[in-house]
Symmetry: C2
């Protein structure tokens, strides 16, 4: 496959990942300096610098000039993990993304209703109120909406969906605006009902409220003018 350029610093990238894992570094933690890493790995500083750039591109590290190199907030989660930058940005892509959400998120909501802790429920209530404030104040609320759905995913205690849900949501935001006026009332009502269902540990309630919520979005994408 001719990965000549890639292979040069790739080995050092993998060794740095190994060090991160061995030391159980957490997001935001500081790495050794370039010089320390070079000594430890027995390679030149140029090679380490190269590898760090690679790890920055892969969203594993962030470099703050003058203060050092740190583990990224969500290490290794790509900006556009599904490569949808290269898909045609049209209504069909928006529908395909929503169909995936319609498969996944009702079940995730049901799992969250089953497993959410008191603390997770409080966090979800707070995030629900925040989205509401943004909507009432006519501020752009898409990011807060993604965070609301991520809170539900985290409450499902399935560590894969906690990452997967924001990935699918932000792919969706590439191509269609689901925060239009027509959908605001639906969002306000469904979010509140979702929180209630999860609070009373009612999986069926959570599942079907999520279906209602997303199906309304789906109808809007299919026929935005009606």
């Amino acid at each position: 496959m001719g990965n000549d350029i890639k292979s040069l610093s790739a080995a050092v990238e993998e060794r740095i990942i190994q060090i991160i894992k061995e030391n159980e570094l957490q997001p935001g933690d500081r790495l050794d300096t370039e010089m320390e890493l070079a000594r430890r790995l027995g390679v030149g500083r140029g090679t380490v610098r190269e590898a760090i750039k690679g790890l920055v591109s892969r969203n594993i590290l962030v470099v703050r000039q003058g203060s050092g190199t740190f583990l990224a907030p969500r290490p290794g989660v790509a900006d556009d993990p599904l490569g949808l930058t290269f898909a045609k940005q049209d209504r069909r892509l928006a529908l395909d993304l929503l169909d995936v959400r319609l498969i996944l998120e009702p079940e995730i909501a049901a799992m969250a209703a089953d497993r959410a802790t008191e603390q997770e429920i409080r966090r979800l209530e707070g995030q629900c109120a925040k989205v509401e404030r943004f909507i009432r104040g006519e501020r752009p609320y898409q990011q807060e909406d993604v965070e609301f759905h991520r809170c539900i995913a985290l409450a499902s205690h399935n560590q894969v969906v906690g990452t997967l849900v924001p990935v699918i949501h932000s792919s969706a935001s590439l191509n269609i605006d689901l925060t239009r006026n027509e959908l605001k009332e639906n969002t306000l009502r469904c979010h509140r009902e979702l929180v209630n269902a999860i609070r009373r540990h009612d999986p069926q309630g959570a599942r079907y409220t999520m279906i209602l919520h997303l199906a309304e979005n789906r109808r809007y994408i299919q026929a935005p003018e009606e």
Copy 2:
């Protein structure tokens, strides 16, 4: 966020992506040379080289020394898009991944049964036979198995799941081997039945065969010794 290093070549990376999209380059297509890109973008060759390295790290480009720079086979799809390299590799992660597959793949199989073309069905039959040959020949068949499930995802005609399914499968392969002897007979039988259900355009048949197939894997992960 201190993206000082990232910002240096990031702008050029985005402009190269723009060029790829404008020219509707396909996977495997050749890019302009470093020199041509530098002239076109009005930047130095060093900056272009830097940006190309960044795009190689992001799996968007591949460089073949001596023959040029090409669009990657699956442009922009990250090696570990969910950042699971940093999750604890244990049985719980394997279960979490399988639970996501259990939510997604039965519905994908049903969509495939609904929408698969003759050509897609023939491709699926071919891949099914290939997995069978690998199993009978006692060869490692995990990659061929992923490809079988990807063929089903592609036949669903949902362009998101075509990328999502291999992503989840290869994350799974990080941590547990689902191609053990105990599961081979299940795999052989279920794969064949899946192909049959999709061939006769039977969504319910495809859905429940997929559930059977994955639920057997799930049982194995939960209690491998029984």
